[in-house]
């Protein structure tokens, strides 16, 4: 193995380490954030016993679930029952591979480390990154429907049916809400889309897509709530009706996998929204020498993503839940049409050379 190859492998490994460590820490701590924020909204304390301010709670939870008994119900299809949580988790985590977290690559030597490795701000530089993201999002449906079916129980089956219908319906609106951005940017590569949002108007309004496509952003936000199965669209796991939806029968680490999926999909979708509509890692008007630039941009990206995660949590603990037929009506009869009209208008403006 020659040095060049070793260097390349090293670069990839460091990239993966950075991003996946960030993601899994984020997933763990999102559960804590959700519980603490909801507690704060509801006038209670929330988990604050394990570590200072409950900061070690995610670790304690993980340990607890590792030691729990892993029950496979007698009516379950064993093989699929075990595969299903893996099948939902992998696409959710994989989608982070194409999301850029900063502008330019950083050299490890700039950080005072001995290796002369260029660390790119994403794991995979794919020219159709957006398509991959959408594709991975739709793959998640398989895991969900198989989990519900293989449990061999009625409530999970109903939850799985609901979530399949919901995810497939809202994926259409989601895709149509994103397309205007692709039209004006002319690229499916996420880094290009983020770079295209550099600069400002009149010196203070950042050149972000949300100001160009406000409707597109609104539709994307709504579809992401539905796609993530978060309240007000959390019908698949509406606990007053279906107990826990498609993962009712799961326990121990398999159950944790569904939770990790939920939160990593949430983070991925928040990151997607930030990249497409809020300039990604862009901090308007900021110029710094290299190691700082990278770190500040990554920090800005994380902060913007966290804002949307907070929005998810905020909405969840405030609103009531839609009913299944109302959700379908909203998806097919309202959102899809509006997103389509939005796309048509943008397409005409682009064709006319206005945008």
């Amino acid at each position: 193995m020659d040095a060049a190859m070793l260097k390349e492998i090293g670069e990839i490994v460091v990239r993966m380490l950075i991003i996946f460590t960030a993601v899994f820490t984020g997933v763990g701590y999102m559960t804590l954030v959700e519980r603490r924020v909801s507690a704060w909204m509801q006038d209670r304390l929330g988990p604050n016993r394990v570590g200072p301010q409950g900061l070690l709670q995610p670790l304690a939870d993980g340990l607890k679930h590792l030691m729990k008994e892993d029950v496979t119900p007698p009516g379950a299809h064993r093989m699929v029952f075990i595969l299903a949580p893996i099948m939902v988790l992998i696409p959710a985590v994989l989608s982070f591979a194409v999301i850029p977290i900063a502008g330019d690559a950083i050299n490890l030597q700039d950080l005072g480390l001995p290796w002369d490795w260029q660390i790119k701000p994403f794991i995979a530089d794919v020219s159709v990154g957006l398509l991959i993201l959408l594709g991975l999002a739709s793959l998640e449906v398989y895991g969900v429907v198989l989990a519900g079916w293989s449990s061999g129980s009625k409530y999970p089956a109903m939850g799985a049916l609901r979530s399949t219908a919901q995810m497939i319906s809202y994926e259409l609106a989601l895709g149509l809400a994103i397309l205007p951005v692709v039209l004006t940017t002319g690229s499916l590569r996420l880094q290009t889309i983020a770079e295209a949002q550099a600069g400002t108007w009149f010196g203070f309004v950042p050149h972000w897509n949300v100001f160009i496509h406000p409707f597109g952003f609104l539709f994307l936000l709504i579809s992401i709530f539905a796609e993530n199965k978060r309240l007000p669209f959390d019908l698949p796991e509406a606990e007053p009706e279906l107990v826990a939806g498609y993962h009712t029968e799961y326990s121990a680490m398999k159950f944790v996998m569904f939770y990790m999926t939920e939160y990593s999909a949430m983070i991925a979708n928040a990151a997607l929204m930030v990249t497409l509509f809020f300039g990604g890692w862009q901090v308007p008007g900021l110029v710094l020498p290299q190691p700082w630039m990278f770190l500040v941009q990554a920090g800005a990206f994380a902060a913007k993503t966290f804002f949307f995660l907070f929005l998810f949590v905020w909405v969840r603990w405030t609103l009531p839940r839609f009913r299944y037929d109302q959700l379908m009506n909203l998806g097919w009869k309202v959102l899809l049409e509006l997103a389509f009209i939005n796309l048509l208008v943008v397409a005409m403006l682009v064709a006319a050379g206005v945008m």
Partner: protein, 367 residues
Amino acid sequence: MFRTQEMEINMGPQHPSTHGVLRLKLRLDGERVVDSWPVIGYLHRGIEKLSESKEFIKITPFTDRMDYVCAMSGNLAYLGAVEKLCGIKVPEKAAYIRVIMVELNRIASHLLWLGTHALDIGAMSIFLYGFREREMILDLFEAYCGARLTYNAFRISGVPADLPPGWKEECTGFLKLFRQRHREYEQILTANRIWLKRTKDVGYMDAEHCLALSVTGPVLRAAGVARDLRKDEPYAIYDQLDFDIPVDDGCDTYARYIVRMAEMLQSVHMVEQCLEKMPSEGPLMGMKGRRMKPRKDEEIYFAIEGPRGEQGVYLISDGTDRPYRCKFRNSSFANLQALAPMVQGGLVADVVAIIGTLDIVLGDSDR
């Protein structure tokens, strides 16, 4: 033609939104409810039979355990019946204290309903807001009688104790705070689009059907019938109080929400009046000694307006200090009859909304 296979599903007795141990067998066509059979009796304790072997005074604690969400009303209904049977007069001050407790308990009961009903529909935070205020009422009860759920706070012919010092001020403070908090609940739900979508035209039942099924309480009043025993057949000191009966003619879940929300404010108004008008001095018990001597072969029926509807007690005496027959007419049991016709043709999500809107307590219906 396409035909979907109907699925039979068992909701409860262990289910997050059947409010206790109601078991509901549902036949579903996809998400639509084709048929439903409520199965009750999981909490049956034989209270009526048990009562036949107890002295009148020893039955009072049972009434706490029937409708444990509004035990004060249960106490009052039973004691009112015994007092009517034996011709005992309750001193005015005791009657005032009873009404204060019962109306506060009505607020607590409606708060529990609001919280669980909203939780079933998905609004989780309001559940904890409701419990926060209910907790303050329970603290007031604890200060008065020492118990927080099964109060057993009244005695035959009166109440055992005066309000403790400082209680009045605390209660006034709570009522003031509660008016504020009530506005907060309304802000969260009353005009919320999703809440409207989930409750409007859900669980429709008009006055005719309500009366045919002997449904009472807020469910009946939300169908446009101004039936309230506090006004129609005043007991205790309700005839001295100034209050309205909230009525709505929406006949649906939203109308019931509006009626119950308005009832809470009416109760606040009543407690305020009671605290003001209550005589500061006077006897608390109308009877000395503890022997009941009802006339032989006397039958009486006495009912009060509980938070869930008409809470009635039917007593037959045989001249001894035990009832020959003690029958409780509990509102949850009667109102539960409305469940099956209401969920017919609705969606699964409507079922939990309807269970919530009927505000049933299974301890009450099973006895």
